[in-house]
Amino acid sequence: MTDNRFFNRSELIGILVLAAFLVVVLPLTLDVFRLNLVAKYLTYAFVALGLVICWGYGGILSLGQGVFFGLGGYCMAMFLKLEASSVENTKIQSTPGIPDFMDWNQLTALPFFWKPFHSLTFTIAAIVLVPGIFALIIGTAMFKRRVGGTYFAIITQAVAAILTILIVGQQGYTGGINGMTDLRTLKGWDIRPDHAKIMLYFFEVGCLFVCIMIAQFVRHAKLGRILVAMREKEDRVRFSGYSVANFKIFAFSIAAMFAAIGGAMFALNVGFMSPSFVGIVPSIEMVIYTAVGGRLSILGAIYGTLLVNFAKTSLSETFPELWLFGLGGLFIAVVLAFPNGLAGIWSDYVQPRIDRLIASRKRKPDGWTDSSVADGAPAE
């Protein structure tokens, strides 16, 4: 009865717990500054969610998700930057009405590819479509030629490096190494004050749950099982009549689109976008979040992202030099000891205990067992 195309009963409980945690517990217990930090961390959760589909299920390790995070983020930032660069705001520039960094770089007119970003509708479409189509092109070029595994991972790294160099090098068009800063309003609504930050946090959580639902749908569709099958025996899937490349392209593209939504949320919540979120190091960090949370678990990846980022913030404040070593060590430890991450620890050690606890309560004859346990019989 509770089984449907999106989740089964235990997953529904997991999703409700996460929703309660993000929507009720965190906003009630954290101040606005810390809540905004959570919003920043959650932008990476979108990437981790995509990696669960692409890497966990499909076995396609991408070390270049920062590319898509960046593309989504830059699309959003371009819109916000244009709005912040109205003629009144920029009248001290030699060319008013264009973003400040363009003026500093002696540009006298808005480049053609910036112009459509005056429209919010176009921007929203671009946030999803630009990275989606880019992933489609990379995926088609690679997977149709049967490039996979380590080679694919290295190529995605190269793409991340290239995009960073491109953004830094084309300062007049992209804001260069500083990125796009001083983003102010969204359709006239100031995104900087505390109440806006809180609103944006809830908006982001809402988007995250939409993405979780999409991921759940993919996972529960036959496509999810084909991804698992492909990860294990690619040839068997191919000789069962499937075009393996198309399924890989799909998984890679959907991961790219999730990452891009995360990037756009980053630009909104944090108020700037820079190439330091595009390159190799952030891309690898995003893989670590997924690995720590559990690459086979949609919800695990989100907890993993939050946990690693909390640790990062608190540890890097105290031991800035040691943090990177700590992160690397954590990654190695998780992969060696708990290949399925936190979610694996949960399902192997914690869940069985809870089940036993519930079962022992259920066995008590004096009918005080609560009804939720009584309905607990498997639906199929």
């Binding site: 749908f217 993919v218 569709a221 036959k222 496509l223 099982r225 084909i226 698992v228 099958a229 294990e232 025996k233 040839d235 068997r236 899937v237 191919r238 000789f239 069962s240 009549g241 499937y242 075009s243 198309n246 399924f247 799909f250």
Partner: protein, 251 residues
């Protein structure tokens, strides 16, 4: 026999097939024909090119020259998944199944519907799928193991599962690479029984070393040696062929 009868259409016609790997001809100018509803066994010493022939037919390896006609379609120019759709199914030498999925899910993936990305997203496990999976599971002796994870099956059961995954595709030509290798005596007997049952309305191309098993199932035997045909005919004829005895059976 009948005068004026049309020349017989072969299900599979392999003609002048050659593949060379860096100058080494693994299959050299090979021609053979498989009839409708025939069980053909390919035997031969190691390195004779048996598996390569199956690889060529199913599209895993591209031919250097020659032609493979299946029901009038030229397979050498088709992609692997198109060859499957044309009606050719192939089982690999080592049991090639999905360990992390259940027996049911293994069979379901091979069910010939929803093979595009969109189709796989919207696929529903309806009664037709369930019935077919149960039907095939019964045939391959795994009826009561449907909800078991496939990695818990024995080696022989994994081989049957893969045969089942092909059966559910309902191919016109079924190609099996050493289906009884590593099986116990009783499993072999069951597999022979299984193969004899599933050949109705389809042809089977089998690679096998186990001569007892070959004798049980083969209508016709092709002996390969160094990428070429050494001998072809009934089991009896092949067994008595001095050339075959010298290079293969005599050992």
């Amino acid at each position: 026999m009948l005068i004026g009868h049309q020349p017989k259409e072969f299900l599979l016609a392999v003609e002048a097939l050659t593949v060379s790997f860096d100058g080494f001809k693994a299959v050299n100018d090979l021609s053979f024909y498989v009839d409708e509803n025939e069980i053909r066994v390919i035997i031969g010493p190691n390195g004779a090119g048996k598996t390569t022939v199956l690889d060529l037919i199913c599209g895993k390896t591209k031919a250097t020259s020659g032609s493979i006609q299946f029901r009038g379609k030229e397979l050498t120019r088709m992609k692997e998944n198109e060859i499957v759709k044309a009606g050719v199914g192939r089982k690999f030498q080592n049991p090639s199944i999905y360990d992390d999925l259940t027996v049911f899910e293994n069979l379901e993936i091979s069910y010939p519907r929803g093979r595009s990305v969109f189709g796989a997203l919207t696929f529903t496990r309806d009664a037709a799928v369930r019935d077919r999976v149960h039907e095939v599971a019964e045939m391959i002796f795994l009826k009561d193991k449907l909800n078991m994870s496939a990695d818990l099956l024995s080696h022989g059961q994994k081989q049957w599962l893969e045969i089942g995954m092909l059966l559910i595709q309902d191919p016109d030509l079924l190609m099996l690479d050493e289906p009884v290798a590593g099986m116990s005596v009783s499993e072999r007997a069951k597999t022979a029984e299984l193969l004899n049952r599933i050949i109705k309305n389809r042809s089977v191309l089998v690679i096998e070393h186990d001569m007892k098993f070959v004798e049980d199932i083969a209508h016709k035997v092709t002996v390969l040696h160094q990428g070429q045909i050494l001998s072809e005919g009934t089991m009896e004829k092949v067994q008595n062929d001095p050339k075959v005895i010298e290079v293969y059976l005599g050992h």
